[in-house]
Amino acid sequence: MVAALPLTLTGATLRRQGKTLIGPVDLTLGRIGVTVVIGPNGSGKTSLLRMMHGLQRTADGHVGWSVADAIARERQAYVFQRPIALRRSVLANLMFPLRLRGASRAQAEARARAIADRFDLTAMLAQPAPSLSGGEMQRLALARALITEPEILFADEPCAALDGRATRQIEALLAGTAAAGTRLVMATHDMGQARRLASDVIFLLHGRIHETGPAKTFFAAPATPEAEAFLNGDIVE
């Protein structure tokens, strides 16, 4: 199987109503690692992830995969900042992506049960997904995204509004996923989490990549005063 990665963004720009939301962004995402996207509210983390995933069409520039776009689409998954529950049972939610890809009911159910076990969802398989708690819903969204074994997972603040324990649980699942070879791109506001998970960092400001580099150097010695201020918890304008 030819890998869809690396992903290359060249001058990629996102505009809405004449306003530039993102870019131009030049960036290459290699086959392994955990890229953590950080930046203040409204800096464009969600927009950047959505643009890479192809949910938002670029106004300028190019988002290029190493395989045809149609194939690349099949190899990606996305966990939204606000998780989306299908109005079905947890089991049916998990089976859904496989059913879309033509898996038989029996096949899909077997894999759904297996992943539910890993994600601690077995007890609530029959429960309507919209009735899950926030933490449970995040686990479901993550499990549902990973059930197709994507090459790359985009996760937009997967631990927002979760308590410490639930956050650690999701982090462990994410770390496991990355260790198993899935490329991870995630946005977060939690600098502790960024330090724990990141192999490299993208620091966004006003829709542009203000600073990027390996996590170690970035956290130890940020090159720009804005990044330093942001890491110190100061307000960055």
């Binding site: 949910l55 689409r73 990606q76 998954a77 996305y78 989306i84 299908l86 109005r87 309507p128 919209p130």
Partner: protein, 234 residues
């Protein structure tokens, strides 16, 4: 007051004695309406879903037209269907005028816009929830519509019930295209109109009560079926 009481008594008598004519008329009403409803749902529900997920240039115009068609006067629909099916009309050779099929055709035209419009509204709202997820998961257009149809099924039941209510109680169009022929195209509503004209208020009222009871039973029945299908909150 006396007429009302007599109507109730008459309805009760007809039901208890399983009046043969009543049963025949009721079954025909149900057959015509349910057939029309089935076809309307087959067309209207996917159409609603399609309108919910598609963005095209004339979309607004189509939706506005569909909503306007809900208010189509049944008598006019009946007249137009009559002209099409009458011997000199374009479809006259089919010989469908004054048959239950003609009544079904008229009812389909009357209720499809209603079914499609309610279905569209329900699925449009659901689509705004599901949009990103289904795009992200690379669902085909057909899969998107099917997903909406399944997950909006409760609201779609409401659409079907509204269609049923409108069709079973409709009289103007089916009177024109069916002709209210005894033993062939007489249904509950046309029978009521006839008996009222004749001055047999008790019988008319009896039929009316049965008509209302029928609508209630169908509504309760389908809600019950939906609720027991799965106990959920959505």
């Amino acid at each position: 007051m006396g007429d009302l009481l007599a109507g109730l008594t008459e309805a009760f008598r007809m039901i208890v004695t399983l009046d043969a004519e009543l049963i025949e008329i009721t079954l025909r009403s149900l057959r015509v309406t349910l057939t029309a409803l089935a076809i309307s749902c087959l067309v209207g529900l996917p159409l609603g879903g399609w309108l919910a997920v598609r963005r095209f240039r004339l979309r607004r115009a189509v939706i506005a037209t569909m909503n306007a068609l809900i208010g189509l006067p049944p008598v006019v629909v009946g007249l137009v269907v009559y002209l099409f099916l009458s011997r000199s009309g374009p479809l006259g050779v089919l010989g469908l005028l004054f048959t239950p099929t003609a009544m079904i055709v008229a009812q389909i035209i009357i209720i499809t816009p209603l079914v499609a419009s309610i279905a569209y509204q329900a699925m449009r709202d659901l689509w705004s929830d599901y949009h990103d997820l289904l795009i992200s998961m690379n669902a085909t257009r057909g899969q998107r519509i099917v997903t909406l149809l399944i997950d909006a099924r409760r609201a779609l039941l409401t659409a079907a019930l509204a269609g049923f209510g409108r069709a079973i109680g409709e009289v103007g169009a089916i009177m024109i295209v069916g002709g209210n022929i005894d033993g062939a195209t007489r249904v509950l509503t046309t029978a009521i109109a006839l008996e009222t004209g004749r001055g047999d208020f008790a019988l008319a009222l009896g039929l009316g009560i049965i008509l209302i009871a029928l609508a209630l039973i169908v509504s309760w029945g389908s809600h019950w079926a939906m609720r027991t299908e799965r106990q959920g909150t959505w």
